[in-house]
């Protein structure tokens, strides 16, 4: 059995320690070691965006990052987005716009949209489509997802 390393990182603002094998991806660590199953596995090779999380302020596919690489870093996942009594405006916009069907892509899209709006609070429709092109959704045809992100941007700047 491969030896495990000890890793200390920050997840959603909390210091977290875990043991993981060096071959385990961040996605595996989140899901299997820390039971943060909001990030989903759709492809495990960087092509679907279902596993999107924010690492030190940058949007990443957690299936392409190793768990051991997060030592001393800060990870934001879907589980950390809402406040105890209030959803994040992007989450609200997804619900208001019916921007999910099966919902498996939703955590990834919301994290991706958050990274976009953090860096560009007023994106055009094209900028949104360009940014979200790394996230696949097979159910919605994207129409309502793009509208939800446009609404969330409007909401934030209002």
């Amino acid at each position: 059995m491969a030896r495990k390393s000890h890793v200390q990182t920050t997840i959603n603002g909390e210091t977290v320690e875990f043991l993981c094998e060096s071959r385990q991806s961040l996605l595996e660590v989140l899901r299997d070691e820390l039971y943060l199953t909001g990030a989903k596995e759709g492809c495990n090779n960087g092509n679907c965006g279902a596993c999107s999380v924010i690492l030190d302020g940058r949007l990443v596919n957690s299936c392409l990052v190793l768990g051991v690489e997060t030592e001393g870093k800060s990870v934001e996942t879907i589980e950390g987005l809402a406040e105890p009594d209030k959803l994040h405006p992007i989450q609200d916009a997804f619900l208001e716009n019916a921007a999910l069907q099966c919902g498996i892509c939703t955590p990834g899209f919301i994290m991706s949209a958050k990274a976009l709006l953090d860096s560009n609070p007023n994106p055009t429709e094209h900028e949104i489509r360009y940014w979200l092109a790394g996230n696949l959704c097979r159910c919605t045809g994207y129409d309502k997802i793009v509208k939800a992100v446009m609404d969330a941007a409007k909401e934030a700047s209002a």
Binding site: L36, L87, Q101, G103, Y142
Partner: protein, 751 residues
């Protein structure tokens, strides 16, 4: 029934009941399921498309540290050669079992051969490489016309063609031939002034749900088997696993977790029985997950096909005869959706003389599974392209020719049924009046195309139980897994009956021990049939609550009336009580109220769609860009319009992917060379404009609120609509899918 009415809840757009769980990452999908002592399973798959298994030696894998058990087809009970109905259609059990774990032959690359349970997924994966399988490699058959040839290599030595009920003597790859005939096609073609005939080829495409298949199984010491999984139908999983393991259904509980898309592809079981076998062997719970390549190579895509369509019309546009030849690839085992293709192909038209021949043909590719209106898109690509060509040659507007020949109530479909009230004409008229259709479209290499589509929809069994709470809310228990917001569309129908807000209903999708039998979430049936069961359960609650009001007021039950959420006494006494207030008084009037509804409705009512698309063709690269897209569809009655629009948009975009990019690319040995989301290219949001979904409502007489299924028909028109738009743009008729840049460049004579 089903007259135009004002509703309080139906037609509104409440936040879906499971919404918060799904936007916060809390909702638990199959792969999210955790349990102490869990082992991880991995399936070894065939590297060959066609081979005989000479031997399997699992000893090295079994000895590998961390491995707890290995299974092969030897661990499955001997399958009977028998046909059973296990969900969306009949299944031959021998074929079903062989598809779970190959016994004598592997029939496609990716065919499951053995499986390992180990303490980690990585160990299980490593152990798979230690299983020694000796194969005798056979030549593969990878294309339907090639497979139909007399000297083609045979997949199944025992398979003989059934032609309209009669079995042939010699083995063949053609599993069956069906024919539907109406009127006198020969006479019809003789009456035509113009006849157009073309052949069409479509590639193998996948449903492409983002969530891979998953299953966790556990056998208790008392023999109770529990399976937690993503599925379109917990009860069909129970039935299939029971048949495959020859185990009583009463000892199997299937717990449907949230499901990340299905589109027809999560009805058949693949790894669920394997997880159960591994759990049995190891005595531990075992979780098996597929990876993306497993999903592409090991689960049902939808058939590639060869389609020939011939249609004749008079000069003024009346279609006098139609003929179709449909040859569909079933994949490794019989069961291509050629039947549904034949039912749908000419259904948007009223044509007196029709003949349709359909062939179900096995090839060395994964066994196909339903995919959204299975069979209909392949067929409609042919028929809707030919109708367009006839319109163009006769110089008639393409929507006009469809209106002129449009199917109406009372017309007979070629396979027999008479259309009830349908919305074919209404969708065409709506499309014609839409600003998209009347907008100018004159730029060079820009084109506009239209096409229509039909899907018959299904009913089947559903059960709903309603428990009334003392605070005026209800808990609604159902068995339909929710893939796209159906908790809400079902809850809203119960809310409408009881005069309460949608938010006062708590819907739950429960396991097979906790609700009455409910068929799969498929066939566009959930909002229709499970909604119907919810309506019946709510009526039951209403009746029982009326009896309680009667008891309170000491009057006869007939003297209690219910309207707008209020019970009132209609005989002398001035009594009134709201649903909510009465809920608080159930204890004193006889105890809890539970309502139930079960249905197996026959009046699903077919759905029609007409799509309008504008494209731009890049002459240099052959790339087709979708500039504008409008999808018009009859929903009967849209319970939650946002989710109806969502179905229309999602279906249209899957159709756009099928039309322009998606296909399995095989090498000569039968290996899929693009088994990843990078190379099997599904549309991203950057490839698309907004999709304008236009809902038409022609109430279905077969449902109390007029609901028709909406999920499937939107994938039927896009391929032909886009092909017709490409023709309008560059004057070339595309007859092969996908219409990828290389095929366009070839068609334009550039390469």
């Amino acid at each position: 029934m089903a007259e135009k009415k004002e509703y309080k809840v139906i037609g509104t757009r409440p936040i879906r009941h499971d919404g918060v769980d799904k936007v916060t990452g809390r909702a638990l999908y199959g792969a999210d399921f955790q349990m102490t002592g869990l082992l991880h399973g991995r399936v070894l798959r065939s590297p060959h498309a066609h081979a005989r298994i000479i031997s399997i030696d699992t000893s090295r894998a079994e000895a590998y540290p961390g491995v707890k058990g290995v299974v092969t087809a030897q661990d499955l009970p001997e399958a009977e050669d028998r046909v059973a109905d296990l969900g969306e259609g009949a299944v031959n059990l021998k074929y079903l079992c062989d598809n779970i774990l190959a016994s004598d032959k592997v029939l496609y690359k990716g065919h499951a051969v053995a499986a390992v349970a180990a303490t980690s997924p990585h160990i299980a994966e490593e152990a798979c490489t230690l299983i020694d399988v000796e194969y005798e490699v056979l030549p593969p058959v990878l294309e339907v016309r090639q497979a139909m040839e007399a000297d083609a290599p045979l997949l199944h030595e025992s398979l003989k063609t059934t032609s309209m009920g009669e079995a042939a003597d010699e083995p063949s790859n053609v599993a069956s031939h069906i024919q539907h005939k109406l009127g006198d096609p020969e006479k019809g073609f003789a009456e035509a002034d113009i006849v157009v005939e073309r052949d069409f080829v479509t590639g193998t495409v996948h449903q492409g749900y983002i969530e891979p298949h998953n299953a966790t199984a556990h056998f208790n010491q008392d023999g109770q088997l529990t399976i937690w999984c993503s599925t379109q139908g917990a009860f069909t999983v129970r039935e299939q696993v029971a048949e495959i393991l020859q185990y009583p259904i009463s000892k199997i509980k299937v717990v449907p977790m949230e499901i990340g898309g299905g589109f027809g592809g999560k009805i058949s079981v693949y790894i669920k029985p394997v997880a159960a076998l591994l759990a049995k062997k190891t005595g531990k719970p075992v979780k098996v997950l597929m990876n993306r390549a497993d999903v592409f190579e090991g689960t049902g895509p939808t058939p590639a096909s060869y389609v020939r369509v011939k249609m004749g019309a008079t000069k003024d546009g009346k279609i006098t005869a139609a003929e179709a030849y449909l040859a569909f690839e079933a994949g490794a085992y019989p069961g291509a959706p050629v039947g549904p293709g034949a039912m749908c192909i000419f259904a948007p038209y009223s044509i007196e003389n029709v003949v349709i021949d359909g062939y179900d043909v096995v090839v060395n590719k994964p066994k196909t599974a339903p995919y959204r209106a299975p069979g209909a898109p392949n067929a409609a690509f042919g028929s809707e392209s030919v109708v367009d060509e006839i319109a163009e040659k006769l110089d008639i507007d393409p929507l006009e020719i469809r209106l002129l020949n449009g199917a109406k109530e009372g017309d007979r479909r070629a396979d027999g049924p008479i259309h009830p009230r349908i919305g074919c004409i209404e969708t065409l008229e709506t499309a014609k009046a839409h600003p998209h259709y009347t907008a100018p479209n004159g730029k060079k290499h820009h084109g506009r195309g239209v096409a229509s589509g039909y899907w018959f929809n299904i009913g089947l069994e559903s059960s709903v139980t309603i428990n009334v709470n003392s605070d005026g809310t209800i808990n609604l228990i159902e068995g339909s897994t929710d893939i796209g917001g159906t908790r809400s569309s079902i809850a809203m129908q119960a809310a409408e009956v009881l005069g309460i807000p949608a938010e006062s209903v708590n819907p739950s999708v429960v396991d097979t021990n906790s609700v009455g039998y409910t068929a799969v979430t498929g066939g566009s049936r959930t909002t229709y049939a499970t909604g119907y069961a919810a309506y019946e359960a709510a009526q039951d609650v209403k009746r029982k609550m009326s009896a309680r009001a009667a008891k309170l007021w000491e009057v006869d039950e007939d003297n209690v009336q219910f309207a707008d959420g209020e019970f009132s006494c209609i005989n002398g006494k001035e009594e009134q009580i709201s649903f909510r207030d009465l809920c608080a008084r159930l204890g004193e009037t006889g105890g809890p109220v539970v309502g139930s509804g079960t249905v197996n409705p026959g009046g699903a009512g077919g759905a029609y769609a007409t799509h309008v698309v504008d494209v731009a063709v890049d002459e240099e690269t052959g790339k087709v860009e979708i500039l504008r897209y409008t999808a018009v569809q009859d929903a009967g009655k849209a319970i939650h319009p946002s989710y109806v629009e969502g179905q229309i948009q999602g279906g249209a975009v899957q159709g756009i992917g099928w039309a322009l990019n998606e296909e399995y690319i095989y090498d000569d040995e039968g290996t899929m060379t693009n088994a990843s989301f990078l190379d099997y290219r599904m549309p991203t949001c950057l490839d698309l404009p907004m999709i304008d979904a236009v809902i038409v409502e022609v109430p279905n007489p077969g449902h109390p609120y007029g609901v028709r299924g909406v999920g499937e028909v939107p994938i039927v028109p896009p391929m032909a609509a886009i092909a017709n738009a490409i023709y309008d743009a560059i004057g070339v008729r595309m007859t092969e899918l996908p219409m990828s840049p290389d095929r366009l460049l070839k068609a334009m004579g550039k390469i």
